[in-house]
Symmetry: C2
Subunit: 332 residues, 2 copies
């Protein structure tokens, strides 16, 4: 092999050039010059901690743009904080770099992190960088603050609750098909680009988090697909659910895919990577939910209600149950 | 390939059987049934956060015993908490599993974690499990508590400070050679086994942490080798250091390796993976350091002092400087 034009320097130089600028705004990071970071307690707040690992070839394509990989890694974690009603504070990043990673790639990656740090209000606190003979492997631990004892759980859904989702459902699953197989026939270039973007760059709903902590009985972010994640809420809450398929919010692009028979509704509610929020709250909060949507500009749609049953049921226009294997995306 | 006799089940079953038992003792983990864990603030304490990633073929051998891999992952992080004067609280684990991992392997891995949780007093709080086409990739984020504003830094060393190390230096670097190349000729089977164990299973000095926060001016755990990690202290503190080579504590096995000319002192102070503590404190604390060693049973040896210079100097028996490239173990 020829000499690499753009080699990655030693670990300490890499930290100084690439990662320290992401950490300097938080004194608790010590500019990445120490073995650890500190987070000082905030009276009346709990620290909410969540983590996701992403591996090239499993969660993203090795040749995806580095800034998009970085932002997806960040946002899948931010989405968990949003679902828990927590405000972002900081994150720990560990990264195993394949031999062919270049400084140009790392600068793009850091640029994506920097952009999302500004947008969502958090800083890098620490981490670890190493080499690997295998694919790029990324792990991010995100931390945020929720009112003490009020983190929104999966398990708080109550019989009679309304069920809501944010945004639109199923776009990212279709976007994965676009990324993998090329444009979906019969859909415009614009619609294909929209779906692809929905897959590559989740839009976590952190703008809602501050209100959710006092409002939602239960919440989860939709990463495994609407059907599977609703199952997580009903299973942990010991309740059932009834969803009207016709109520599920779909994008124009997803509707076009349905019309072109490029997908059916089952695929849309089973596809992963939506990173929208699924939540339940008392019917008395309908005005509050409408106000929240109006105030934040985030679409929030009521799609059904929590029942006394023990399963999540999806009903078509004739109130007949859809036979739906509640699979969602599984890594095994 | 034949059917695997011991396949890994789906992600949720894996969490329930392997990981949830490691989390159940801390209610903040919600038994791994939610998207996030919580850590409630402790008045007068800072949360200290550190992380390490370990990859098969880089930081350990893929066929090392799974409980040893787990405990090394845990202990390299515990060692950072010890150096910072922090008491362990909990950890987040993310893990990318190659296709050939079995349930038996995972049970061994979890057994190693369970054993160290008991020994060091912390619990699993959350994480993520995924698949990879590449080598096993592990990331652990450890969290602990230090008195507010008193985390021991790398950067606090002062001119005239005594410099101490715990335990013995250089064993793990020799143990890596044993692991890779087989027994070191001229050393007894016992001594080879001792060195190998020092490489495979670090002994982090968390028993000292509670005292260090009020006593040490600066501290670091020795992961890159004594010379390199001393350099991290002198660089960040803006000071120099003089170390008497003859004062550096060596195990009988390391001394035997020196006598057999299987290693020189430079190799011992440059080899990584010691996971002993290196710290500085005022000369007035010599009795306190002796008391600490006596109380905990951990050997603590004074090896030199902090100077007004700007480099770390190692002196032989004739007070001549050793020419030492301050490299330590680098992953790039």
């Amino acid at each position: 092999m020829s000499q690499r034009a753009d080699p990655v320097p030693g670990e300490f130089a890499l930290i100084a050039e690439i990662f320290a600028p992401l950490a300097n705004a938080d004194p608790g990071s010590f500019g990445l010059t120490d073995d650890a970071a500190i987070i000082s307690p905030r009276p009346g707040r709990d620290l909410v901690v969540t983590a996701d690992m992403m591996v090239a070839g499993v969660h993203f394509f090795a040749d995806d743009a580095p800034d998009k990989i970085a932002r997806k890694l960040m946002r899948v974690n931010l989405s968990d904080l949003a679902a828990k009603g927590a405000a972002p504070h900081g994150y720990i990043l560990t990264i195993a770099l394949p031999q062919d990673v270049t400084m140009s790639w790392l600068r793009g990656f850091a640029g994506g992190l920097a952009s999302d740090q500004t947008e969502f209000g958090l800083n890098l606190l620490g981490g670890d960088t190493t080499a690997t003979q295998g694919p790029l492997c990324l792990s991010l631990t995100a931390m945020g603050w929720a009112p003490q004892g009020q983190m929104v759980r999966r398990s708080g859904a109550k019989e009679g609750d309304d069920i809501y989702v944010t945004g639109t459902i199923g776009d990212a699953g279709l976007g994965l098909r676009v990324r993998r197989d090329g444009n979906i026939p019969g859909l415009s270039a614009e619609k294909n680009a929209f779906l692809l973007d929905r897959y590559l760059l989740p839009q976590p709903r952190n703008v809602l988090a501050g209100t959710l902590a006092g409002l939602a009985h239960a919440a989860i972010d939709i990463s495994d697909g609407l059907a599977a994640d609703l199952g997580h809420i009903t299973d942990t809450s010991g309740v059932g659910a009834e969803i009207q398929l016709a109520s599920i919010p779909l994008s124009d692009a997803a509707r076009a895919a349905l019309e072109q028979q490029a997908a059916d509704i089952t695929a849309l509610i089973s596809g992963g990577d939506d990173y929208e929020l699924l939540l339940t709250t008392a019917p008395g909060n309908r005005q509050a939910m409408a106000d929240l949507a109006a105030r934040t500009g985030v679409a929030i749609t009521r799609i059904g209600s929590i029942t006394s049953g023990n399963e999540a049921v999806f009903l078509d226009g004739k109130n007949a149950r859809i036979d739906l294997k509640r699979t969602g995306y599984k890594h095994f």
